[in-house]
Symmetry: C2
């Protein structure tokens, strides 16, 4: 049982404060570029990270901190500069960012996580961040979650901030979350950051299991452009302020897990529908696959195909490109067994039997949210992915991002 909280965010959760300010990393605008999340109560923490071999310095440090620290209390994030591919110097800058934040909050360095997002390969303007940290700490408040959500945005057009009230057998807990990401979005993380807070009391190993399962169902099943970033991470913090203990495989465990799925899928979809230049959010349901892996391979291939993406952009019911993308996926499918429908309109039946009603199909394809079902007729497993279309604006946004 859960319920979305209006204007919810990471600070909807008991015991969490946050803030977002402009410290100058984004030179050409006055947009917010520094975020801080803080809980005076120590938080159990787990994370999942990019699979890119090129990993940004802040990611390496946070991953290490999550691994080694029993608790953390703060997350400091800058946007506008990814501090990636910056070598030894970038690593030292990231350590300084962590250290400065710890000093300012009067906590230990290993109680602070750091994250950066933005341009790759440029030196972090450390001085701006250092003085920004001095400015942001006094601004911490229980209403600061939305500002923090704003401050982690790069090419995002929409603020991504949510919270759920979750009714458990033993009482109520809250899950709050903010995230960012709109380009370089691809399975297995993307240029995306997500910070999730809960006041449930959960051990580290249980928390990790729950997060991993939710990430697999959400952030790992989205695609904007097939590119994977150097900085992606999803962090889940549990400060126990609700005094509600969640133990492995209890009834509350399952209820909490369901709620975490909901908020992670909500975030994942919000990232795709705010994809760079995106005009449509498309849900890809692959059904009757031999295995879940096969369903994922097919859904991923469709989600990443520029030809499928441009057809959706053009409102073209081009089922042939969808079938072709499934065929090139590497999955062991029999194309003659495949059927395809748009929303609930059957388009293709097995043995290439075409039943498309072009007028009805065009109406469906004109909508901002479309659901496509690809039935492989090959087994009993399934998978759902989310993708966006590819417009001229994606090209415009990315042709001159760095300069």
């Amino acid at each position: 049982m859960y319920q979305f909280i209006k204007n919810g965010s990471v600070t909807s959760t008991k015991g969490f404060k946050a803030a977002g300010i402009h410290c100058g990393v984004k030179e050409k605008s006055k947009k917010l570029d520094l975020a801080l999340i803080y809980s005076a109560e120590p938080c159990t923490v787990v994370g999942t990270y990019t699979l890119n071999k090129v990993k940004a310095a802040p990611l390496l440090i946070s991953r290490d901190t999550v691994k080694k620290s029993k608790y953390v209390k703060a997350v400091v994030v800058n946007s506008g500069n990814a501090n990636a591919c910056t070598g030894e110097e970038g690593y030292l800058d990231a350590l300084d960012m962590q250290k400065k934040c710890a000093e300012g909050l009067n906590i230990r360095q290993h109680e602070v996580l750091i994250a950066s997002t933005g341009v790759i390969g440029q030196k972090l303007p450390l001085n701006k961040i250092i003085s920004g940290i001095d400015k942001i700490i006094p601004r911490l408040s229980t209403k600061g979650g939305i500002d923090a959500a704003n401050a982690i945005m790069t090419t995002d057009l929409k603020v991504k901030s949510y919270a759920l009230k979750v009714k458990l057998a033993s009482g109520n807990v809250t899950i709050g979350a903010i995230c960012k990401g709109s380009g370089m979005i691809m399975p297995n993380m993307a240029t995306m950051l997500a910070f999730i807070s809960t006041d449930a009391k959960i051990s580290k190993s249980v928390l990790y299991d729950i997060l991993l399962e939710s990430v697999k169902k959400s952030f790992n099943k989205i695609s904007v452009d097939g590119d994977t970033s150097t900085n992606d991470m999803v962090i889940l913090l549990a400060n126990g302020a609700s005094d509600i203990l969640i133990e492995k495989n209890s009834r509350d465990y399952n209820l909490f897990k369901d709620a975490l799925d909901v908020i992670c899928i909500k975030m994942a979809k919000s990232i795709v529908s705010d994809g760079e230049g995106a005009t449509k959010l498309i849900t890809i349901n692959v059904k009757h696959a031999k295995s879940e892996k096969e369903a994922d391979i097919v859904a991923k291939s469709i989600s990443n195909s520029p030809l499928v993406k441009t057809a959706f952009y053009g409102g073209d019911a081009n089922w042939g490109r969808i079938l072709s993308a499934a065929g090139q996926s590497g999955a062991d499918i029999d194309p003659a067994k495949v059927s395809i429908s748009f929303d609930k309109l059957p388009v293709l039946l097995p043995n290439y039997k075409l039943v498309i009603d072009e007028v009805k199909a065009a109406k469906i394809l004109a909508k901002p949210e479309i659901s496509v079902t690809i039935d492989l007729g090959n087994g009993l497993k399934e998978s759902t992915w989310w993708m966006c279309d590819l417009s001229e604006d994606y090209v415009k946004i990315n042709a001159n991002y760095r300069t």
Copy 2:
């Protein structure tokens, strides 16, 4: 020793005739849409085909014909309709196309290859092709190669037709070729067709070895958009009209192989530089890889990255995206060992040492042909790929291709 023949084509080769006409498959224009290549001398023939699980009917029939026939004499090709995903009916249409061509030329059905390219999933307008075959046969001529090259084009802007005079120890032979392809272009074939003729005398097994090696070095190392088509094939016909016999591992074998590499790479590059909406041709050299496979994985990931493609379009020397694409490739590389240069300008040295001269880099990036070297510092193997950039025009072309 070889030399390009001016205005060369598949009919530059002794004994080959060809033609190209408009038969009406392309309904909205008067563009040529039916091509025929013919050799009265029987041709040894080999082919390579798409790896997409969804294979068009003409491809299945031609693959089967190449496998079973000792010789073939003709290839008939239509553009405007791919006869793919058309089921049983499409298969029968393709057989009729093959049969009609054989009857018209007074040869056997298994001496005719067929190919189609264009929209997927629409019924082939067989009547137009049947009457087209009647019209095209009288037009066959030794000057018809360029018309044939025109008639196989879909979204191609440039005619792709070449020929090489090859000086062997035992005399001269010719290799002529036409090809098409500009979207859905990806490693391991693409929406591309290539027909190559030679008057050398070569056994089927030797011919196959030679073609496979050349295709690996050319058509399998290009990327426009990462999509693989249902209809791709490369066909090599040898009619022996020169009376020059080429045997396995002879000196002439190697000379001929080199020349075939040259014409295949020429075609592959022509396809990429005519990629849908492409404004730049970029050569990706991956050096010092652990294995050739690793070099290919890295080059493929870079070539397929929309973020790299859009950066090239914008003339943005965004080496960070190139490194990130290498990092997400799945190859076991150490990013700290990587160096990158644009043309001969070093940009990144190992340990993330940035040495970019932005003014010089911008000048290089503004050119229509750019070469990028990614040195992995990891071994002794290398690979060269060719890619194009991604512009708004790619989106425009593909958003409404079918309709």
